[in-house]
C-alpha cells in the first residue's frame, strides 16, 4: 500500500522548500523501513551513521559513501522506494553510458519524470524555444534515459520527435580498440539518416551530442539546412569545450540558439545552461532535487568560486536517492542562483583518468 510522502518532497514548482527541511524529509522517506527502498534499507545497516538523525544539511550529505559503483550489480527493482506500494509506475530501467566500466543502472519512476519534464520545459519556455515543433533527436535511446526524456519534453511543448538512435557504447568500443575509422563511419551513418529528415521535414529543434554536432559541421549542406530550419540546438551527453562553443555560436550556427544541458544518469536528469552564459557555459541544476559541489579531489573540500575542481552530484527526490557521487568531470565552481542548494558549474570537461580506467568519451 502506498504511503503518502512528505509534501515537501513533491513541492509545487513555485514553492521551493527550505533545503534543510527538504533533506530531512528525504532522509525520513528513504530510511524508514516502511517507505525506503530495499537497497537503502539494507545498505543503511553498514553505514556508520544514522541518516535520519545525522544528515540534516547539505554538508551532511558528504557522510554518505559514493554508492554508484554498486548500481552496476544491484537489482533495479530494489532501488524503488517501498512507500510507492503497488501503485508504483516504473517508466524504465536506464543505464549510464558505460564510459567507465560496466554500466550503472537506475529505476526511473513516472512521478519524477513528470517533475523533471515540467521543470525543464519551463526553462525552454523562458528561453523562447519554439512550441508545437518537430524535433530531431540524434541521441542515444535504448538503455539510456535521454531519448525517453526528449520525446516527453517535445510532447509537453506541443511537438513531436523523430529519433535516430545513437549507440554510444559501440562508438566507445571502436575508439578503445583503435578503430577510429569505424567510429567515424558509424557517425556518418547517423548523420545520413538525419539528413533525410532535415531535408524533408520542418525540423525546428535539433537534439544532439557535441561530437556529432562537430561532425555535422563538416558537411556544408547539413550546416546550411540547420541554419535555415533549426531554431534551437539542444546539446548534451558529452562535453563542449569553450572554444568550440564559441565557434558554433559565432561562426557555424550564428542564428541558432545553442542550449546546453549537463546530464548524468546518476542525477536522473540534466542541468541547464544559464541564460546569458557568454564566455563561460554555466549549468544550473534542478535544485534542491539535484545539487552540485565542486571539490578538490585530493581533500574532498570545495574549491573557491571560479576555480576548477571535480564535480560531486546529489540526486534527492521521492523516487530516488543518489548522494555524494564524485563524477568523472571537472568544472569551474560558480555561485548558485538565489536560494539554490549547492553550487552551479561551468566549462565542464572530462577527467582524463578515472578509477584507473582511461575515460573514452566517444560521442555521448
Amino acid at each position: 500500500m502506498a504511503v503518502a510522502a512528505d509534501p515537501v518532497l513533491t513541492f509545487p514548482p513555485d514553492q521551493v522548500p527550505d533545503p534543510e527541511e527538504f533533506i530531512q524529509a528525504a532522509m525520513r522517506w528513504h530510511f524508514s523501513p516502511e517507505t525506503g527502498s530495499p537497497y537503502w534499507i539494507e545498505r543503511a545497516k553498514t553505514l556508520d551513521f544514522d541518516p535520519r538523525r545525522d544528515v540534516r544539511t547539505f554538508d551532511d550529505l558528504q557522510l554518505f559513501p559514493n554508492i554508484v559503483n554498486e548500481l552496476r550489480q544491484v537489482p533495479a527493482r530494489d532501488l524503488v522506494p517501498q512507500g510507492y506500494g503497488s501503485s508504483v509506475e516504473v517508466i524504465g530501467i536506464y543505464e549510464s553510458g558505460g564510459t567507465t566500466g560496466a554500466p550503472k543502472r537506475v529505476a526511473y519512476l513516472a512521478d519524477w519524470m513528470d517533475r523533471y519534464v515540467t521543470w525543464s520545459t519551463r526553462q525552454m519556455e523562458e528561453r523562447g524555444h519554439p512550441r508545437d515543433a518537430h524535433w530531431l533527436a540524434l541521441i542515444p535511446s535504448g538503455p539510456h534515459l535521454w531519448g525517453e526524456v526528449v520525446a516527453r519534453q517535445a510532447r509537453r511543448r506541443g511537438g513531436f520527435t523523430s529519433t535516430i538512435d545513437l549507440d554510444p557504447r559501440w562508438v566507445k568500443k571502436c575508439l578503445a580498440e583503435g578503430r577510429g575509422d569505424e567510429a567515424g563511419r558509424y557517425v556518418e551513418h547517423i548523420l545520413a539518416q538525419g539528413e533525410f529528415l532535415l531535408e524533408t521535414q520542418d525540423i525546428r529543434v535539433l537534439v544532439v551530442t557535441p561530437p556529432l554536432l562537430e561532425r555535422l559541421a563538416q558537411h556544408e549542406h547539413l550546416v546550411k539546412l540547420v541554419n535555415e530550419k533549426v531554431r534551437v540546438i539542444i546539446w548534451s551527453g558529452a562535453h563542449m569545450d569553450a572554444d568550440s562553443r564559441h565557434l558554433f555560436r559565432t561562426e557555424v550556427f550564428p542564428d541558432v540558439q545553442l542550449f546546453g544541458n549537463y546530464g548524468s544518469t546518476m542525477i536522473l536528469c540534466g542541468a541547464v545552461e544559464r541564460s546569458g552564459s557568454e564566455d563561460e557555459c554555466v549549468f544550473d541544476p534542478f535544485a534542491p532535487h539535484v545539487s552540485f559541489s565542486v571539490v578538490d579531489p585530493e581533500t574532498g573540500r570545495p574549491v573557491p568560486y571560479g576555480e576548477r575542481g571535480q564535480v560531486v552530484m546529489n540526486h534527492i527526490s521521492r523516487s530516488a536517492l543518489f548522494p555524494n557521487n564524485l563524477e568523472r568531470d571537472v568544472a569551474t565552481r560558480i555561485r548558485p542562483l538565489a536560494g539554490q542548494l549547492g553550487d552551479s558549474v561551468a566549462d565542464v570537461s572530462p577527467v582524463r583518468t578515472f578509477d584507473d580506467e582511461v575515460v573514452i568519451e566517444g560521442v555521448y
Binding site: E214, A217, D241, D243, S244, H246, L247, V252, D279
Partner: protein, 455 residues
C-alpha cells in the same frame, strides 16, 4: 615582459585566440608566451577552407614567398623584431642564438629559392603547364598529388621550417601545426607569409594538443610529420605521410689519416648546437678509434658553457631537470663504452634553473654496438672501429653520411645504399645543406607526380 606574448592560431578567417592556451616557458621555467590550442572544430573548418581555396599562380607565389622570407628574417613581424624573435627562440628552445640567426638566414634563402629548389626535382621530361607545346602529341605535366598539405613541425631547430615552403611554392594549401616547445618560428613565418599576401585561406597555423593533432593529418591530403621512432613507426604504412625521424647521421673515416679531417668531424658533431638531425651521432674509424675519440673529446671539452642568448654560446641549454634526465639516459646507455668525455656527467647548471648540455664522446669496441643508433639532442657522439670487412652494414639507416676515403668502390656502394639518404665525400660536414640539394630526397618527390597529357 611581464605579460606573456600571445601566439594566436591563424585560421582562414584570421587570428583566433583560444580560451585554451598552452604556456610556453623559457629554459629556466619562466613563462614567456601563451600558445592558443584550437579544438577539433577549428581544425576541421581550417582544413575545409584550405580545400576550398584556389591555388595561387606560381609566378605570383614565388615572389610572395621570397618577400615574406625577407620580412621574416629582417623586419618586425607580429610585434617582434628579428632580434627579439631570435632572442626568444634561443631562450625557449635553448638553441644558441647564433644558430638561430643562421637558421633565420637559411629560411630567408630557402624562401627566395623555394620555387627554384622545387624545380630541381621535376623529371626532365615533365613540364609545368598543360599548355606547354611539349604536350602536343603527348607529354608529361608535373602535377600535385593533392591539394592540402599538413606539417607537424618539430621544435628542436628553427631550420625545419625551411622545408614546407616548397609545398607552398607548388601551390599546395598548407596547415602548419607548431611544436609547443618552440612555436615562435612557425608563427612568425606563417604571419609573414600571410602579410605578404599568400592568402589567409591558403596557409594556416593550427596549434593543438595531441588529441587533435591526428585530425590534421587525417584531414590533409599529404603530411610531413616530424618525430621520434614511435612517430615514424606509426605512419610507416601510410603513403600520404612523409616522416622525418631521427637522422642517425654518421661519419666514416676510412683512410688512416684522420687528423686532417678533425675539423670536419668536430663541426659535424657540435655545430648547430648538436641539436639537428644532420649532426653526426656516430663516427666510424678504420683502425684504432681511441686516438680519434681522444682528439674529438679534447676539442669538444673546450666549448664554453653559456646561456643560449649569449653571442658566444655554442652548446644547447635545457631546464635543469630535463638535462638531468638526458644525462641519466646517456649514462644508462653508455654501458660497455669508454666515456672519453662526459663520464662525470654532462649537465652544467647555470644557476637560474637552466643547464648546459655539455658534449659527450663514447668510444665503443665494435661497429655494430646498439648505442650507435642513440641520437641525443646535444653534441653526443659514439666512436667505433670499422674495417672494410664490416662493409656498408653498420652505416645503414643514415640521413647524412660523410665519408673520408679515396676508395671509389666503397663510395659507390654507399651512394647505392638505399637507406643512406645523403653522402658527403671528403671534408664536407654532415650539416652542410643548400637550396636545390635534397635533404632527405626532394620534398617534391613526395608532393608531385607526372601526369600524361595528350592533345
Amino acid at each position: 615582459m611581464d605579460e606573456p606574448i600571445q601566439l594566436d592560431a591563424l585560421g582562414a578567417r584570421g587570428a583566433f585566440r583560444a580560451r585554451n592556451r598552452l604556456t610556453v616557458s623559457d629554459v629556466t621555467g619562466r613563462p614567456v608566451a601563451e600558445l592558443s590550442q584550437v579544438p577539433r572544430l577549428f581544425v576541421q573548418r581550417g582544413l575545409s577552407a584550405l580545400r576550398t581555396a584556389t591555388p595561387a599562380g606560381s609566378d605570383e607565389l614565388s615572389a610572395v614567398i621570397a618577400r615574406a622570407g625577407h620580412t621574416f628574417a629582417t623586419d618586425t613581424v607580429g610585434g617582434l623584431s628579428a632580434q627579439e624573435y631570435q632572442y626568444l627562440v634561443s631562450r625557449v628552445s635553448g638553441v644558441p642564438v647564433t644558430v638561430v640567426r643562421s637558421a633565420t638566414r637559411r629560411i630567408e634563402r630557402a624562401a627566395a629559392e623555394a620555387y627554384r629548389s622545387v624545380r630541381c626535382a621535376r623529371p626532365a621530361a615533365a613540364v609545368d603547364r598543360w599548355q606547354d607545346p611539349v604536350t602536343r602529341g603527348g607529354g608529361a605535366v608535373w602535377t600535385r598529388r593533392g591539394d592540402v598539405f599538413a606539417v607537424h613541425a618539430a621544435g628542436n631547430h628553427p631550420g625545419v621550417h625551411s622545408l614546407w615552403l616548397e609545398a607552398l611554392a607548388m601551390g599546395y594549401r598548407v596547415a602548419v601545426r607548431p611544436s609547443g616547445r618552440e612555436p615562435f618560428t612557425p608563427h612568425r613565418l606563417v604571419t609573414a607569409l600571410r602579410e605578404a599576401g599568400i592568402g589567409d585561406d591558403r596557409l594556416i597555423l593550427l596549434p593543438t594538443d595531441h588529441h587533435v593533432a591526428d585530425d590534421i593529418v587525417r584531414g590533409a591530403d599529404l603530411s610531413l610529420v616530424y618525430g621520434g621512432d614511435a612517430v615514424v613507426h606509426k605512419y610507416r604504412a601510410d603513403p600520404n605521410v612523409l616522416t622525418q625521424g631521427p637522422g642517425r647521421t654518421k661519419i666514416l673515416l676510412a683512410d688512416g689519416d684522420w687528423a686532417s679531417s678533425l675539423d670536419t668531424v668536430v663541426a659535424s658533431i657540435s655545430d648547430e648546437g648538436g641539436v639537428a638531425c644532420v649532426n653526426a651521432t656516430a663516427v666510424f674509424v678504420a683502425g684504432d678509434p681511441a686516438p680519434v675519440a681522444a682528439a674529438i673529446a679534447e676539442r669538444l671539452a673546450a666549448l664554453p658553457s653559456l646561456p643560449p642568448e649569449d653571442d658566444k654560446a655554442v652548446l644547447p641549454v635545457r631546464p635543469a631537470a630535463e638535462a638531468r634526465r638526458t644525462e641519466k639516459y646517456l649514462l644508462d646507455h653508455a654501458d660497455g663504452g669508454v666515456l672519453r668525455l662526459g663520464g662525470d656527467g654532462i649537465v652544467d647548471e647555470l644557476g637560474d634553473g637552466s643547464a648546459v648540455l655539455r658534449p659527450a664522446v663514447v668510444q665503443l669496441d665494435r661497429p655494430d654496438a646498439p648505442q650507435l643508433a642513440t641520437e641525443l639532442p646535444f653534441p653526443c657522439v659514439w666512436v667505433a672501429p670499422w674495417s672494410p670487412d664490416d662493409g656498408v652494414g653498420p652505416l645503414r639507416n643514415t640521413l647524412v653520411l660523410t665519408v673520408v676515403s679515396q676508395d671509389e668502390r666503397l663510395i659507390g656502394r654507399l651512394v647505392d645504399e638505399p637507406s643512406i639518404s645523403n653522402v658527403h665525400v671528403g671534408d664536407h660536414p654532415t650539416h652542410r645543406m643548400a637550396p636545390g640539394i635534397p635533404h632527405d630526397g626532394y620534398l617534391a618527390e613526395f608532393l608531385m607526380r607526372s601526369k600524361a597529357v595528350i592533345r
